[in-house]
């Protein structure tokens, strides 16, 4: 009897601790099913035993919008995509008005549109930069079923000013339907380009001679049998990681099975092999993104569907010392987190440079920032909302010069009441002591 009591007591303590801990790290317990919860409980218990687990979660510091500048954009229609070069100093925008614009950051930290040209004969979906080691190269894809590659050349005009001219190097016209996404490969794979179109074909092109971008040859054609919407290269430069591609499909029917495919290049077969399909995601996928990776052995993949999913991909490297023998490296998928905070479908994803913060945008008009704490537990750390202008702000925006200067400054940092409550400015520390002995 006594033994039973002790057990009951222990169990209740554990449950409380578990609740405590899970609350602190961002899992609400109703999201977990029972089996999951017990697994987590065991894990947490182990944590307790091993390290004296403490509740520890990070919270993002308060946003402080220091510069809130709006640029009057000369596009005549909605912008579809914005892409930054590797250094964040140049920006390319593409729009429904069939044009692409390139913006440069000048010395005063203002964005100046340096070139603008008509690229396609229909809406331009995506624009993307190649790595700077291949020069200043852009690729665009469009509803008009083509992918175009552009290279910048700087020309001195009559009045000895430098003109930026973007030259059309090639049009890739293999697709028979709208091309939804285009991405350059990570730089260590050379100059390759992957595109996916709405009839479910992923094409991989390569420019054998980086000096001659007019010549692109189609290397591979991968079939997904479903309308593809997005594509992402695995950026890992780790030696034993074979090139990898993730493709997302936006087929609206739930019955067609998994919507995310992972392809890997097999050196033995000299072809891309489908190694994984994520069966659990049956809703249409709108965007997919690998986190930047330079030396971590596992990859992080974010998927935007009805929910936001974050997966860890752990390649099992069986033939580390004999690369050619590893026919098809086995990979294990592990869902790290999923969030339905948007309450609607999620449309875009974007990682920061270090791959520590993920940004997601949803159809609800909100932008969320996500961050993992040091225990790999993801949590929402920030929100950007939109609001239609009220009359006061309308005036504010109207007064902004079209060059795009700071329109309004807004600080949302808390004020430290205790300090300012009674005494005004912060505590004064006399420079010269009034009399000896009062200060050190």
């Amino acid at each position: 009897m006594r033994l039973f009591q002790i057990f009951a007591f222990l169990f209740s303590v554990l449950v409380i601790k578990y609740k405590d801990a899970t609350d602190g790290i961002g899992f609400s317990s109703d999201e977990q099913n029972a089996g999951d919860a017990s697994a987590k409980l065991v894990l947490l218990l182990l944590c307790y035993l091993a390290n004296g687990f403490r509740r520890f979660s990070f919270t993002w510091p308060q946003f402080r919008v220091e510069l809130f500048s709006t640029h009057f954009h000369k596009h005549k229609d909605l912008i579809h995509d914005v892409s930054f070069d590797f250094f964040g100093k140049r920006m390319a925008t593409c729009s429904s008005d069939q044009s692409v614009k390139v913006w440069d950051l000048n010395e005063n930290e203002e964005w100046i549109c340096t070139s603008s040209w008509k690229t396609h004969s229909a809406s331009v979906w995506k624009v993307t930069w190649a790595h700077p080691e291949f020069g200043q190269v852009l690729a665009t894809c469009s509803f008009d079923r083509t992918v175009a590659v552009w290279e910048e050349s700087i020309v001195e005009n009559a009045s000895s000013q430098l003109n930026h001219i973007w030259i059309n190097k090639t049009n890739l016209v293999d697709s028979r339907t709208s091309v939804k996404d285009v991405k350059f490969s990570p730089k260590h794979l050379g100059l390759q380009l992957a595109s996916c179109s709405s009839n479910g074909v992923v094409r991989i092109y390569e420019a054998p001679d980086p000096m001659n971008l007019t010549h692109w040859s189609m290397q591979h054609e991968l079939l997904c049998k479903m309308s593809c919407s997005c594509i992402s290269w695995n950026p890992s430069t780790y030696r034993y990681h074979a090139p990898m591609l993730a493709v997302g499909c936006d087929d609206p029917s739930n019955s067609t099975g998994g919507k995310v495919f992972i392809f890997e290049f097999s050196y033995a077969l000299r072809d891309w092999v489908k190694i994984k399909m994520i069966m659990t995601i049956t809703d249409p996928v709108n965007n997919i993104a690998f986190a930047p990776n330079m030396g971590k052995k596992h990859h992080v993949l974010a998927i935007a569907s009805e929910k936001l999913y974050i997966y860890n991909l752990n390649p099992r490297l069986n033939g580390e010392h004999n690369q050619s023998s590893s026919e098809q490296s086995d990979i294990s998928l592990q869902e790290v987190a999923h969030f339905a905070d948007h309450n609607s479908k999620i449309t875009r994803l974007s990682w920061n440079d270090f791959g520590t913060i993920l940004l997601s945008t949803g159809d609800d008009g909100k932008v969320f920032l996500w961050m993992a704490n040091y225990m790999d537990i993801w949590k929402r750390v920030g929100t950007i909302k939109n609001d239609s202008l009220n009359p006061f702000e309308l005036e504010l925006v109207k007064n902004v010069p079209s060059s795009g200067e700071t329109s309004g400054q807004k600080s949302s940092r808390i004020s430290f009441k205790r300090f300012t409550q009674t005494r005004g400015p912060p505590p004064e520390k006399p420079l010269e002591p009034v009399y000896k002995g009062a200060y050190y």
Partner: protein
């Protein structure tokens, strides 16, 4: 502790009329900045004309955590970097820094904060207008200093027996100069005749007493007209108590027990005199004696005068339990927080300090992250405490530990600014097992604005073993120089990157330029190619051809002639360069002494004939050039036949 509505904590509102109908999209720029715009993903409805012209189309640039942009913050960043690197190096040399070393580093950080604060204050006082931004900065810095010094006392400096009150009292004295303000007011007011008449006279005495500055209290009391030294006088009695108050110090070779005995004796004396009615005639002195007795009620009465719960807590404990240890502090916090309105009334700073009093390091760091709006303090504090073994370690395979996590966040808040890149590199270098991962990611995003910067970045990469990045940087620089048509620079980057195919392209370009203009633009570079000429055939040819020029200039005609012949016969030269090569023979043929024998001359003639057949290269020339070329060829043929004749005869 419950977190206040963390969901709504960080919100930015973007104003855009377009968003009524379209969703907001955003994209990372770099560091802590985003670009947001209204867009749509409903692909089906696209390409139908939409009425968007009524609203302008905006791009919204959003930044945050940009405190590090101000000149004072720059100083903070650059100077604290040196201390940070010092800590890491110390740790590398001796395994783990000792307590005293850590204390030294901690004081270094604090002095940097202090000097930044001073600079801000000077600016603030120097500026004509009231500067809100500066005032905010000043608040931030004084707050950081306050938090840091408390953490230093509690976490780093704790003495062997765990007593902290002396330091805490000092901390109060230094950071909350309330008492000094009162004292100054008393001394400076001429309207009241003497300081003792001043309305702030007693508040000054109380606050001095609360801060444990007994000798100053005595000085003040002596100014009172009723002060007398006779026995049984209330002033004399309190003066004696103040004089005899034992002060604990670890350094005075005094054991805790010994001190406690002394102190208890003194405390009993205080209570005895208080109840004995010694001070009944003077209500002010009665209040003062109640402070000395450690009376809780009086502390409540004086809050208006003195300050917040932590100051009160420290004063109370100073007179009630002066040998309290760090671990016992938190038992007393609740009572004082309740006096000040309970948990709900706590501001962000209170929460940080409370966590420190509770000795909850993680909570301190968490609260600092949340409320300070800068990663500076949590990062550096966590780093120091990491070496005190106070920061919890990582338990998952994939997770980094807290310290590394914070370092990455701190650096990414700096990475928006180009000039901070060496600082970022320094911090990331000491980021544990993943430092190369982060360094690699960061290095490839450093804008290579100049050759010098590129060289610096390369040196760092080489030191850290990021050879792929080195290659990549060289390629980028090469492309850049090519775009601006600087062949020489491009070639030198090529050689660094060991990129033979590209070296060929550049060498060909250089030869073409020579064939056209007769001049090499980068003679010095070609002269110093050294062993790198072996990288590509074209480059080898270029080097050899340059050697021919040198031999010719040195009047070693025989050698020069042989070299030229070799170049031609080996067929290494690109075809369109042959005319130039053959023309170089002409002066050699026309010399008096014979250079080429029969066989060699026939070889040259064969080359000439090959050239004649390849009309292709002449296609690109203009009419005049072609005529010129034909004339030259004729001339050359004549010279060669002459030479042949001469050779046969001799």
């Amino acid at each position: 502790m419950e977190e206040p509505d963390s969901d709504n904590a960080n919100e930015i509102v973007v104003y855009d009329l377009l968003m009524e109908h379209h969703a907001l999209h955003a994209h990372w720029q770099s560091g802590h900045s985003l670009m947001a715009f209204a867009s749509t993903d409903t692909l089906a409805s696209v390409d139908q004309p939409r009425d968007v012209s009524q609203h302008p189309i905006y791009l919204h640039e959003i930044h945050w955590n940009r405190e590090m942009h101000s000149p004072v913050a720059r100083k903070l960043v650059n100077e604290s970097r040196l201390v940070f690197v010092g800590v890491q190096q110390q740790a590398e040399i001796s395994g783990k820094p000792t307590k005293s070393q850590l204390l030294k580093f901690s004081r270094n950080y604090r002095s940097i904060l202090q000097s930044c604060f001073m600079e801000l204050r000077q600016k603030f006082e120097g500026s004509e207008e009231f500067d809100e931004e500066l005032e905010k900065q000043m608040q931030l810095y004084s707050m950081m200093e306050l938090i840091w010094s408390l953490c230093e006392i509690l976490f780093i400096e704790n003495s062997p027996d765990g007593t902290v009150l002396i330091q805490l009292v000092e901390w109060c004295k230094w950071h909350f100069p309330v008492a000094d303000d009162y004292v100054r007011l008393c001394y400076n007011a001429d309207d009241y005749g003497s300081p003792a008449q001043h309305p702030n006279y007693w508040p000054a005495i109380y606050t001095l007493a609360l801060q444990g500055r007994t000798s100053e209290v005595r000085e003040m009391l002596k100014l009172h007209p009723a002060f007398q030294t006779q026995e049984h006088d209330p002033f004399a009695s309190i003066d004696e108590l103040l004089r005899k108050m034992p002060i604990f110090s670890y350094h005075q070779s005094q054991s805790t027990n010994e001190f406690e005995m002394k102190w208890r004796h003194w405390h009993d004396e205080c209570i005895k005199r208080f109840y004995g009615g010694d001070f009944d005639t003077m209500p002010n002195l009665k209040t003062l004696s109640r402070i000395l007795c450690g009376d809780e009620g009086i502390i409540q009465e004086l809050t208006e005068l003195y300050g917040s719960w932590y100051q009160m807590l420290i004063s109370y404990l100073y007179f009630k339990n002066p040998t309290i240890s760090v671990s016992e502090l938190h038992y007393h916090t609740k009572a004082f927080i309740d006096i000040f309105g309970g948990q709900s009334e706590l501001g962000p700073l209170d929460r940080i300090l409370l966590a420190a009093f509770k000795f909850d390091v993680s909570q301190v760091i968490r609260e600092c992250c949340k409320h300070l709006g800068t990663w500076w303090l949590p990062t550096h504090l966590a780093d120091l405490l990491h070496y005190c073994d106070l920061v919890p370690l990582s338990i998952t395979e994939s997770g980094t530990n807290v310290r590394e996590h914070l370092i990455v966040e701190y650096t990414s808040s700096l990475s928006n600014f180009d000039s901070f890149w060496p600082v970022v590199v320094d911090y990331l270098s000491f980021c544990g097992s993943l430092s190369n991962h982060y360094l690699g990611l960061f290095v490839q995003r450093i804008p290579l604005s100049s050759e010098k910067k590129a060289a610096k970045v390369i040196r760092i990469c080489e030191k850290r073993g990021l050879l792929k990045e080195v290659e990549s940087i060289c390629r980028q620089m090469k492309m850049k120089s090519m775009q601006h048509n600087r062949l020489g620079t491009a070639l030198s980057w090529c050689i660094k990157a060991n990129d033979s195919s590209f070296a060929m392209i550049i060498a060909d370009k250089m030869l073409k330029e020579y064939a056209r203009t007769g001049l090499f633009s980068n003679i010095d570079l070609i002269d110093y190619l050294g062993s790198s000429v072996l990288m590509s055939e074209s480059l080898t040819f270029l080097g050899k051809y340059r050697d021919f020029h040198k031999l010719y200039a040195a009047e070693k005609f025989k050698d020069a002639g042989q070299l030229l012949l070799n170049l031609l016969m080996s067929r290494k030269a690109p075809l369109d360069f042959w005319p130039s090569l053959l023309m170089d023979c002409l002066p050699l043929l026309e010399r008096n002494n014979l250079i080429y024998d029969v066989e060699e001359t026939t070889g040259l003639l064969a080359c000439l004939n090959v050239l004649d057949q390849k009309q292709k290269i002449f296609d690109s020339m203009t009419e005049i050039e072609r005529e010129n070329q034909e004339k030259k060829m004729k001339h050359l043929r004549l010279a060669l036949t002459n030479n042949l004749a001469k050779a046969i005869v001799s």
